[in-house]
């Protein structure tokens, strides 16, 4: 019977004599299998004497041979030093104090080296006001960039340094009388200044111009006009009770950044008090996200706000805003000398107004006696150089640490540069300028150099090499010495200068060891400061006047926390670091408000696998158009304004994977960050690598928030309530033993590690993310993998927007949902971020639950709990079922979908010998098919314990550290032993603000959070 059944394969069979059915009968495969492609062509196949049987024999034999050979262990060679340096003990890390000063980032750091290789950058705790941001943390990887220049070159040929130096001196001597410009970054280095001065005495036709890729010229101009010398007023926000910022992202890169440690000091409620921070800004920045009150306003209105706050009239301000300004003014007035205004507007008048206001109110937060010296460039001078090269009046250009061909906003600069008589570039890489330059001097990384910095008057730092130069490179200073006819090595020169001018009798060796030195010594101002009349050109109102053209928008050019001015664009850690606000990596983009986007028909949407896609726009200004810039709809973006990050779109000496984003420098007209542009939608859809899909908390208490008022007046149970569960129809707290499925282990003996994260102190800067990458050999997976949610970061910083005006209102809205209709509509609404949302950050790593859901589901017991509280992960035991990741409520487990090391498909630092030098030898590089996650830096805690055992002493509080806790600039992350009742983390654990993430789940994590408190009370 069954044999009579006819099985239909397709509808085609119904037709008689269907050609398709006939063909299918004849051919097994519809399409011809391209056998020739993998077997070679037919002729070779037939010519071959190997029969099928022989072939199978060979296969069998080779397989057997290979598997037998696999049983034999490989022979591993070990090569010890011939003459071992005294300070190197294999297996023990050495730390060297040093300083970075790359023209954009300045910081005092500790360099951790293993067997002579720098592997990590840490904070130097001896330094005051020191912020080691994500870029500085990542700078160690830029040392091992395989695209670095390996030798100097003249024309197309590599030369040796003797010939190179001789060539430069000869050229310079020939060019006497012609205009030669030495265009450098801000070195903020007293010794380099002296050297340049000596060099210029030797070659008087050379003039020195400082060019900051990202300019703070207007602020410096205003300071210079008021106080005589050039510099930037410094601020100590710990001394302010009311901070009003108008367009100044001081938690980001405003005036060199580094303000967060002081700012946070007064942001954690102490004795019921904390400072109040009001932010007027257009882009959503870190500062705006951390502010108590944020008002989105376009830059053209911001100037009016500055004027109104500093005593001018309120007229011309949009309604709503005027009210906020009035309130801010009132608060400032009440705070008196405890108030401070800062502004980031590229406008001398606004900057001057702020300086005058702070001066006259006697603001304790502003320090004008000891200005910052990290951004000394002057726009007028730089513009003159740019135009001089283009017009041909400048015959020679020596660039140091800057890349004008990439970053000058002049379309014909590159052509003019090629025709210069002398074009000499000091560069670490064959960047846009170096690739066109006739002479290129390969410079070492700062970890291979000697040097000094003076970030702020009186705050000195020393740079010492932590590794011998990897390539045939020579420092700029070394070259200058040579050219000036001084045969001294730069080290001697530096030391001599310090001993005579700076140290004032203090020990040089001590200064090198500390890396920092504070002194009130008055240094002779050697730099030629631009005379005040050259400042005129930068006072034009231009960009700050309202944009009246059709489709006009105000563009704010900013720098991303990860990329800065783009010097480290070839650094995969930084490329893969998600932006703290947008959470998108591997890109720059236009940020636009939702209403503007709607008006222009621009959309953002998530595709099936969750990845974010978005439309493109063309941004034009005059004749300059930057095409195909992707748009991210940014909650909180001021209407009528867009943001775009600088530092992207580099192509020279950048490997193809990292040639991301668009170059926004052509829009950096006049070196001002605010421009009037017109925006038009372009065709196409852009694929973003955005790691966060859910942007709101939907009224849940993932991040607990309260206001200072409630915090001060009400009991902790009200604003930090313990979740209750029902047992026998009685409500009991979830932490009660009755609500527990498991018997708890006794953890009272020995160490029990806990990690506390203070959400008040976390600014979202992401330094911990990079520190974690460096410490734990976290692989870089690339943009396409990130789009598939396969990011490997052990530590992520979640960012949440409120759906209403604040998180508290979200919560109310959720609580009031009743009935099907309301829940269908209102939950949907709760998913949408507000136009001007509250923003909160939350670093999330493995919570090391005492009752870990991951441990119970592992079929091979690869993850288990240690007595010290850490949730262990034995990679060699893991078989990759991924049950643990599915059972983890915090989604912190990361699966190695591929082999990320030594794999050409992932051509990042782990795929070349040079890049692999950054790996931490104490942590395994995980292979394909295993799960990994935060280990709470068990290698660090174990080392601390071992050191104490070896010395035979108990461990003091503060000795236990994790990579994230030691990288945190604001002290938000505190790590320690809760069995030590004098420890800080013990106090944190018993703080009223303490809560656990998803406490209701009952996982009993060893990571805790401190409720965020906002000072929302309008004065």
């Amino acid at each position: 019977m069954a044999s009579n059944k006819k099985y239909w394969k397709s509808v085609e069979e119904l037709k008689e004599n269907s050609s398709i059915v006939e063909t299918l009968k004849q051919n097994e495969f519809v399409e011809e299998i391209p056998t020739d492609d993998f077997l070679g062509d037919k002729e070779t196949l037939e010519a071959s004497s190997t029969t099928r049987r022989d072939f199978l024999k060979y296969v069998g034999f080779t397989t057997a041979a290979a598997s037998l050979a696999a049983c034999e262990g490989p022979v591993i060679k070990s090569i010890p030093y011939v003459v071992a340096p005294d300070e190197i003990v294999p297996g023990v890390a050495n730390y060297y104090a040093s300083s970075i000063g790359d023209g954009f980032d300045f910081a005092n750091v500790l360099v951790k080296t293993r067997e002579g290789r720098p592997i990590k950058i840490e904070r130097n705790d001896l330094a005051r006001n020191n912020e080691v941001n994500a870029r500085v943390q990542a700078s160690v990887l830029s040392l091992y960039d395989k695209n670095r220049l390996m030798a100097p070159r003249v024309g197309e040929e590599e030369v040796n340094w003797e010939d190179f130096d001789a060539g430069v001196v000869a050229t310079l001597s020939q060019m006497t009388g012609k205009d030669v410009v030495l265009l450098t970054q801000t070195f903020a280095s007293p010794t380099t200044s002296k050297l340049i001065q000596e060099f210029i005495t030797q070659f008087p036709h050379v003039r020195h111009v400082i060019y900051d890729t990202v300019s703070s010229s207007e602020a410096a101009d205003a300071y210079q006009a008021k106080y005589g010398s050039r510099g930037l007023a410094d601020y100590d926000f710990s001394k302010a009770d009311v901070i009003v910022s108008v367009g100044a992202d001081f938690l980001g890169d405003w005036q060199g950044g580094g303000y967060s440690p002081d700012y946070i000091e007064n942001r954690v409620p102490k004795n019921g008090k904390m400072s109040r921070h009001i932010q007027f800004e257009a882009n959503m920045t870190l500062s705006g996200a951390n502010a108590d009150k944020r008002v989105p306003v376009k830059p053209s209105d911001q100037k009016k706000i500055v004027m109104a706050l500093t005593g001018g009239s309120m007229s011309g301000l949009p309604e709503g805003v005027a009210e906020a300004v009035r309130a801010a003014k009132a608060e400032l007035d009440r705070a008196g000398n405890k108030g401070v205004i800062v502004t980031g507007l590229p406008d001398v008048a606004a900057q001057a107004a702020v300086l005058n206001y702070n001066e006259s109110s006697g603001s304790m937060a502003m320090d004008t006696d000891k200005p910052r010296l990290t951004s000394m460039g002057n726009t007028a001078e730089v513009t003159a150089v740019m135009n001089g090269v283009v017009s041909g009046s400048i015959k020679g250009l020596i660039t140091v640490g800057v890349d004008p061909v990439y970053s000058f906003p002049h379309p014909s600069f590159a052509d003019a540069y090629k025709n210069l008589e002398l074009s000499l570039a000091f560069a670490m890489k064959e960047d846009a300028t170096a690739s066109l330059a006739k002479m290129v001097a390969a410079t070492p990384h700062y970890l291979e150099s000697w040097g000094d910095i003076q970030t702020k008057k009186g705050n000195f730092g020393l740079t010492q090499p932590a590794i011998r130069p990897l390539f045939n490179t020579k420092q700029f200073q070394e070259c200058l010495l040579k050219w000036s006819g001084n045969d001294k090595p730069y080290y001697d020169y530096l030391r001599e200068n310090w001993e005579t001018n700076i140290l004032a009798g203090a020990s040089w060796n001590k200064a090198v060891q500390d890396g920092v030195f504070e002194s009130d010594v008055e240094l002779e101002v050697l730099e030629t400061t631009p005379a005040l009349n050259t400042l005129e050109s930068s006072t034009s109102e231009g960009a700050l006047s309202a944009n009246s053209q059709e489709g006009g928008m105000e563009l704010i050019l900013y720098t991303k926390t990860s990329m800065g001015d783009g010097q480290q664009a070839n650094n995969p850690w930084l490329q893969e670091m998600p932006d703290p606000i947008t959470r998108a990596a591997w890109d720059n983009y236009v940020t636009m408000s939702a209403s503007d986007a709607e008006a222009m028909g621009i959309e953002n949407f998530n595709v099936a696998n969750g990845a974010l896609n978005g439309s493109y726009v063309n941004v034009s200004m005059g004749d300059v158009t930057v095409e195909n810039v992707p748009v991210i709809i940014q909650p909180g973006q001021a209407k009528g304004s867009i943001g775009l990050a600088l530092g992207y779109g580099k192509t020279a000496a950048i490997q193809s994977e990292m040639q991301t984003g668009v170059n926004a420098f052509p829009l950096y007209n006049n070196f001002k960050a605010v421009q009037n542009v017109s925006v038009a939608k372009a065709n196409g859809i852009h694929e973003f690598a955005c790691v966060q899909l859910q942007n709101t908390m939907m009224g849940r208490d993932i991040i607990r928030e309260t206001t200072l008022e409630i915090f001060n007046t009400k009991d902790a149970t009200e604003w930090n309530a313990m979740p209750m569960v029902s047992k026998d129809h009685m409500e009991i707290p979830v932490t009660s033993p009755d609500a527990d499925l498991w018997d708890s282990f006794d953890r009272s003996v020995g160490h029990h590690f806990n990690l506390s994260i203070d959400l008040n102190a976390c600014t979202g800067c992401g330094a911990c993310v990079i520190a974690c990458n460096a410490e734990n050999n976290v692989p870089v997976v690339g943009k396409t993998e990130i789009r598939k949610s396969r990011s490997m970061h052990w530590l992520r910083i979640d960012r949440y927007y409120s759906s209403q005006e604040s998180f508290a209102v979200d919560l109310d809205k959720k609580e009031n949902i009743s009935g099907l209709g309301s829940s269908l509509s209102e939950f949907g609404e709760l998913e949408q971020a507000s136009e001007n949302p509250q923003v909160a950050f939350q670093p999330v790593m493995c919570q090391h639950c005492n009752h870990a859901p991951c441990e119970t589901v592992c079929p091979v017991a690869a993850t288990s709990h240690g007595r010290q509280g850490q949730n262990h992960m034995a990679y060699n035991r893991c078989v990759g079922t991924r049950y643990c990741a599915n059972n983890c409520p915090y989604k912190v487990r990361r699966f190695n979908w591929f082999l990320y090391a030594e794999n050409d498909e992932f051509d990042y630092h782990m795929n070349n010998d040079l890049g692999r030098m950054v790996l931490n030898p104490d942590v395994v590089v995980r292979s394909r098919g295993v799960m990994e996650k935060c280990s709470m830096c068990i290698q660090m805690t174990q080392k601390t314990i071992l050191d104490a055992k070896r010395d035979g002493r108990p461990i003091k509080d503060g000795e236990f550290k994790t990579a994230c806790s030691s990288a945190c600039n604001t002290g938000a992350i505190v790590f320690g032993d809760v069995n030590d009742h004098d420890s800080e983390v013990y106090k944190k654990k018993h703080d009223d603000r303490m809560y656990h993430l998803l406490e209701a789940v009952g996982t009993k994590p060893n990571v805790m959070y401190q409720t965020q408190v906002r000072n929302t009370k309008e004065a």
Binding site: C71, V75, S78, G91, G750, S864, R867, N876, L946, G952
Partner: protein, 440 residues
Amino acid sequence: MIKVKFRNLPTQLSLLLLALLLTFSTTTYAQEDMAAATTETAPAAGEGDAAAGKTLFNANCAACHKLYKKGVGPALFGVGDKYDKEWLYKWIRNSQDFIKSGDPQAIAVFEANNQSVMTAFPALSDTDIDNIIAYTYTPKPEPTVAVTGATGGGGGEGNGPTNNIILAALALIFLLLVVMLVLVNKTLRRIAEANGVEYEVSEKRPPIWKAFVQNQFLVFVTSIFLLLASGYFAYGWMMQVGVDQGYAPVQPIHYSHKIHAGDNLIDCNYCHSSARKSKHSGIPSLNVCMNCHKMISEYNGEEDVEKGYTKEFYTNEIKKLYDAVGWDENTQSYTGEEKPVKWVRIHNLPDFAYFNHSQHVTVAGIACQTCHGPVEEMEIMSQFSPLTMGWCITCHRETNVDLKGNEYYKKIHEELSKKYGVDQLTIAQMGGLECGKCHY
């Protein structure tokens, strides 16, 4: 019965060999005796006591001087002939003062030796110095090694294989006996058949293998047994894959731990100094070797001629060290030409296992031999322990932690011993079996 003729052959052969052996051995001893005799009867020039001088020399001078060769200082053989005795007294007691006093010969000597300052020995008496000078006349021993090697070679080799030859002979005899038995049996049968004598002929039974195959139960049991056995052996074999116990690779320089740690009692930590403070015990850098080998340029200890470990062999290995480190023996200086040595690593832990030497050496105070075996007896270094996880765990389960005098352990020990109700804690009880302690 032809074969009977050879019956005596093995005995004769072995006797012959024995005789040969004895002759050669005696010659060997005779040679050595002669060499020894020459050394002892060497005339002690001068009036000092050479034996006492040797002790003094080794205690005071040997750090910088050798008899026949330049060390840090010049060679001292026959130094009494070169200089006046009084001059030598002054020089030895305080050469610097002597030079300052303006003695032209003293200045010349100082200049000739790169102005290296000789330690002053004011405590040495005239007699002491006389004794030392007497010792310096000890003539250079003849290079006996080469001679012994050449002549003794045959005899030496004869010693080992003799046993084998005897064994082979015995086997041969046994074989002959079997053959003879079969032949005798056959002959007897033939005679019996010829004489018509009847003898019992065993009944034709099916061959045993056939019977076995027919018995299904037996086949079943056997195959199960075979399967189990092969499973057992396969498992055993699999488990030793990657376990390199006994791994003793050939190293680029034949470094004998036996000579250094055994004969000369050098502490392990002297060369493997980082074992005390680091996770790695460290392969010593060559400059550590040179601390001693600047002076010790030739091997003078015991030999094992049989294995080829002669003085020459060892001295040659020291030359390899000099070559690698770039040490020129003639000028006693470094040439700067370094050739790093590529040692073959013996103890290889997989990357995912973390092991820290200092934890075991310094904190626990475990002797190196516990894991590395009798290194001081190893001519060629080999891996003593299996280095498997089971091996680690067993030790961690069984070993008590020595907590005395370590402030770190004080509190933990008190609390833990209360908890477990024991006085001594094993490493396992301290948490030494947790995965994350070794795998991260």
